[in-house]
């Protein structure tokens, strides 16, 4: 999945921090490709052609969502019949009732929320501190430390699966929620993102504060961090997406159903509840809806995050 491990994309990212990245065309007026002199009527006719192309494409992209919601509300008896229907004859919440009464989904949701909250909070604190240190403070080993962090971006997840499993077993966190959290406490991408942002701030800001006798930490906390909100939003979204949807780490490290995350739990349903489609789709809705709503609410920031993970080849 695209958000789990930032790859060389981060190398190529714009040095000016997330603000300097062109927003991936959220709502701002895109440059019209027709010349200003083109006849308006001709342009309108062309617009219809684009709609003719885009409506089916958008419908294709929406189909899995529609099917997911519809199936989660369809009575079990209607799903497995032949020939199948496109629309259920009646809607029911049976799938959701079964999901919440017969399975541990509430517990798994709580687990996932916990993992994501810890991941986002830890990323915001640790990565912004480190990003600021690497951007602004002078200390021996700074270049080496930053290069070491950048080098880790090249290391793919699959190389880490076995030793991380053994490491988690040695420190005794297999089958606990900690195994799902630890890989998300900080990331090279997060440090890089924050460093790039802090480099883009004018140094005069904190110089004045330091001359006024502010300590490094309070300068950072009172003056710098409030300015970093756009970068922190990008960081939070990146971490939320990655930790909420993560499958690999819980999969290798957690076998105890009471410590399952939501993603691991619904993946397990596929074997255990193979034909219980309304329940499966209800669980899918539970796992997906929070991020979908969040995306609709903060689309601009999501797109900025996606753009930052790889732009400026």
């Amino acid at each position: 999945m695209p958000t789990t491990v930032p790859g060389p994309a981060a190398y190529a990212a714009a040095p000016g921090g997330p603000q300097a990245v062109p927003p991936g065309a959220p709502d701002g007026p895109p440059p019209a490709s027709t010349t200003a002199t083109a006849a308006p009527r001709r342009r309108r006719r062309r617009a219809w052609l684009w709609h003719l192309l885009l409506v089916p494409v958008a419908a294709l992209f929406a189909t899995p969502f529609v099917q997911m919601f519809l199936t989660s509300l369809t009575p079990e008896a209607e799903i497995n019949r032949f020939p199948p229907r496109f629309w259920p004859s009646q809607l029911t919440l049976d799938g959701y009732v079964k999901l919440f009464t017969e399975t541990d989904v509430l517990r798994w949701t709580t687990n996932t929320v916990l993992v994501s909250v810890v991941a986002v909070a830890s990323h915001i604190v640790l990565c912004s501190l480190a990003g600021y240190g690497f951007a602004r403070l002078k200390f021996p080993g700074r270049t080496f430390g930053f290069l070491a962090i950048m080098a880790t971006i090249m290391i793919p997840t699959q190389l880490l699966m076995v030793p991380t499993y053994v490491l988690f077993a040695r420190i005794g966190i297999i089958d606990t929620l900690a195994a799902a959290m630890v890989p998300w406490l900080a990331s090279a991408f997060g440090i890089f993102l924050m460093r790039q942002f802090f480099l883009s701030l004018p140094p005069e800001l904190e110089e004045a504060a330091v001359l006024d006798g502010c300590s490094r930490l309070s300068t950072f906390w009172r003056i710098i961090l409030p300015l970093a909100r756009p970068a922190l939003a990008t960081l939070a979204i990146f971490t939320l997406l990655g930790s909420w949807n993560d499958l690999v780490w819980p999969l290798i490290a957690i076998n105890d159903p009471s410590s399952f995350t939501l993603q691991l739990g619904i993946t397990n349903f596929q074997g255990a509840r193979r034909t219980d489609w309304s329940l499966l789709m209800a669980s899918n809705v539970v796992a997906t809806l929070p991020l979908v709503l969040f995306f609709l609410f903060a689309q601009r920031q999501f797109i900025a995050t996606m753009t930052f993970t790889g732009v400026k080849g």
Binding site: M1, P2, P8, A12, V21, P22, A25, P30, P31, T35, W50, H51, L53, L54, F61, T71, N80, P83, P84, F86, V125, L126, L129, A130, G133, G145, A148, T152, M154, P156, Q158, L159, L160, M161, V162, P163, T164, Y165, L167, P183, A186, R216, L217, L241, W244, N245, L247, I252, Q263, T267, Q270, W277, A287, V292, F295, F302, M306, G310, V311, G313
Partner: protein
């Protein structure tokens, strides 16, 4: 925060100030650096040591030198997994580039409802591999799935999809594209908006038609981004695991078993930690070589700006 910090630097004590700043610097960067390096470089080195051993996680590890790497050369199942991974890469990478470029061009204009189209194209990006997996097995179910239902209504023959060894990888590619088209689209959209409008306008004034102006003016400007996205998507593709795990688990008849799936199976089903680590290193080496090769090639031909 438990970082120890030096007191505020005094103006007349430059040395103390420097020491103070060094301490502050270490205090700021140490927690995150230890975590990141400790959870990647340290395990990566460990994985290399493991790859020179025969170990199941419980017994005493047995040093076997390069045997694990030698075994890879004659491992038929690994060879098949490499083939499936290459097939997926060959399907996914070009398709995701074309789809992303096409969608970006279409969505990069002033249209009524363009915001809605964009949202619908981007939305699948937040859907997890687990959820996509369940959706895939449902939509492409041969008996009652949506896709076969559409084919039936259109009077077309029913397909086996995920149950057909020759089609399963295509289905996985389609659903990967659904989930990840947003990424290439967003990158191309940003790149398109970086191109000065005057360039295309100048071409139009010179008598180029729409297509010529796109092909000769806009497209060359997109070349560096294309090189970058191609490398990025290739790396993603040869590491395919999640969606295979949540749809076919390598089946039917092993036809969707990718290298990383095989590695996962060797490690966590057969407990061959040493061999799995060797496979991981093999894949890592290939990834690095591809990245370096493409970067050098694009530098020499001046297409890429990487």
């Amino acid at each position: 925060m438990t970082t120890t910090l030096a007191p505020s630097p005094a103006r007349r004590a430059p040395r103390r100030r420097r020491t103070g700043e060094a301490l502050a610097g270490w205090g700021f960067v140490t927690p995150a650096t230890l975590l990141v390096v400790g959870l990647s470089i340290f395990p990566a080195v460990w994985a290399f040591l493991l790859s020179l051993q025969d170990w199941n996680g419980f017994s005493t590890p047995e040093p076997v030198g390069a045997d694990n790497y030698r075994r890879m050369l004659t491992d038929a199942e690994l060879g098949a997994a490499v083939g499936h991974t290459l097939l997926y890469t060959a399907l996914f990478v070009p398709a995701s580039l074309f789809l992303g470029l096409g969608l970006a061009v279409a969505l990069n204009r002033r249209l009524v409802l363009v915001g809605v189209y964009r949202t619908l194209v981007f939305l699948p990006f937040v859907v997890s591999a687990a959820a996509t997996g369940i959706l895939t097995t449902y939509l492409f179910n041969p008996q009652f799935g949506f896709v076969n239902n559409v084919l039936r209504v259109l009077g077309l023959p029913q397909q086996g999809w995920l149950e057909d060894p020759s089609q399963a990888m295509v289905v996985i590619t389609i659903m990967s594209l659904w989930g990840q088209a947003a990424f290439t689209t967003v990158i191309y959209l940003a790149a398109l908006q970086d191109i000065p409008v005057e360039l295309a306008e100048a071409a139009r004034v010179d008598g180029a038609n729409r297509w010529q102006s796109f092909w000769h003016v806009t497209f060359p400007q997109l070349a560096p981004v294309t090189v970058f996205v191609a490398i990025w998507q290739t790396i993603q593709a040869i590491q395919l695991f999640d969606l295979v795990y949540t749809t076919t688990r390598g089946g039917p008849l092993g036809s969707t078993e990718t290298v990383v799936y095989y590695l996962w199976k060797a490690a966590f089903k057969e407990l061959e930690f040493g061999y799995a680590s060797a496979v991981a290193y093999g894949l890592f080496a290939v990834t690095l070589l591809i990245t370096i090769a493409v970067t050098l090639y694009s530098r020499r031909t001046k297409v890429g700006g990487l």
